[in-house]
């Protein structure tokens, strides 16, 4: 990798890509369908998180196979890798990490922009919707596959009038080499 280049750029350049508008509008179609099916925004938030989780547990393989990274030494590095390499590789945008707590177990992932929300405006009836909640599920699912149980939630959302997207990421537990098979169905 040439010096000065940001770590995610090379990865993003090397993977197959598609037009972001197709992605954005498809996501919009999914959210609309959920809103029609569930009516309650809280239920939609939950469903988006679940969909994200399903993606996350598969996406981590794709990430580890292509991202050309080494094992993260601590949770701080994990968070940096998510925003600098993970977001870049899949969504083409990078973010920053901020607001660490004193134990280094909780931080905020900040995104100025993300392709999910292009063309989007929340109507009055959907004010409680975390439109991009799928991202929380993705991060939670992906981290669970590398032995980290986390709690991930949106605390700021540009669509709700905030200045940035802020995702609060909290490490609950490091599960060493324990296979997280907990689907009981």
């Amino acid at each position: 990798m040439p010096p000065n280049s940001r770590p995610g750029d090379a990865v993003f350049a090397s993977v197959d890509r598609v037009n972001a508008e197709l992605f954005t509008l498809t996501y919009g179609a999914i959210v609309r369908q959920l809103l029609t099916d569930f009516e309650e925004v809280d239920e939609v938030n939950k469903q988006l998180d679940t969909m994200g989780y399903n993606i996350g547990i598969r996406l981590i393989d794709d990430f580890l196979a292509k991202a050309n990274i080494t094992r993260c030494s601590d949770f701080r590095e994990t968070a940096e890798t998510i925003v600098k390499v993970g977001f870049k590789m899949f969504l083409g945008v990078t973010g920053t990490v901020a607001n660490w707590n004193t134990d280094n177990t909780e931080c905020s992932l900040i995104l100025d922009d993300n392709p999910l929300v292009d063309f989007v405006e929340l109507p009055e009836t959907c004010q409680g919707l975390y439109y991009c909640n799928i991202l929380c599920g993705v991060i939670r699912g992906a981290l669970e596959m590398v032995s980290m149980r986390t709690e991930v939630k949106f605390v700021k959302d540009v669509l709700r009038g905030d200045d940035v997207f802020e995702i609060r990421l909290k490490l609950l537990e490091q599960v060493p080499e324990e296979y997280p098979y907990k689907d009981d169905e």
């Binding site: 993977v15 598609v18 508008e21 498809t26 369908q33 469903q47 399903n54 899949f90 083409g92």
Partner: protein
């Protein structure tokens, strides 16, 4: 009141923001994962294949209507096609290039029926990572793309029935996908009148 004066992007009303050039990209994996969730979720809400295809088509229609509006603004200087061949070639080239990065492999007129047209694609993007289980018969995730095409045609005033079909090709392991467009009678009558 929002949308007045100059301000950060998020304070502007969505229609006041500049329209992007449409050059941004995301990874194919991100799209494939998302699409797979759409299909899996839809599966939990239906009883049979026809309903599943209809749900995917419905999702596609929403995308198609928006793509039509977006591309008419951006690529066609706020005009849209009013003739049958014009709108078909718009779908086959402008829309396909925007969504899939290339024009469609072929656009043909049906030989048996005057009102049928077919757009074919050797490897439709949405089918790239999909293998259909044997017990699901002729199910084709291309229904989503058929929905996009239907959304565009309906939105432009060319109501049509649109469906996706696998067509096996000699010498190739995977079948190609053909999007079959059957225009409503009124569309053909109007065309005939316009001469």
């Amino acid at each position: 009141m929002i949308g007045v004066g100059r301000g950060p992007k998020q304070l502007l009303n969505v229609v006041d923001r500049p329209l992007g050039k449409g050059k941004n990209e995301v990874s194919l994996s991100a799209f494939a994962f998302l699409f797979s969730e759409l299909v899996q979720y839809s599966q939990t809400r239906v009883d049979n294949i026809a309903e599943l295809e209809r749900r995917l088509e419905d999702a596609g229609i929403g995308v198609g209507l928006r793509i039509l509006e977006l591309l008419c603004h951006r690529e066609k200087a706020n005009r849209r096609e009013t003739r049958l061949l014009g709108i078909l070639s718009f779908v086959h080239s402008t829309v396909w290039r925007c969504l899939f990065g290339k024009v469609a492999d072929s656009l043909e007129k049906g030989t048996e029926h005057e009102d049928e047209y077919m757009i074919s694609e050797r490897e439709l993007l949405v089918n790239r990572f999909i293998s259909v289980p044997k017990d699901m018969g002729a199910f084709n995730c291309g229904s989503f793309v058929a929905g996009i095409v239907k959304g565009i045609l309906d939105g432009a005033g060319f109501p049509a029935r649109v469906s996706a079909h696998f067509v096996s090709v000699e010498g190739q392991a995977r079948p190609r996908t053909t999007i079959l467009i059957k225009f409503a009678e009124e569309v053909l009558q109007r065309e005939a009148r316009l001469g």
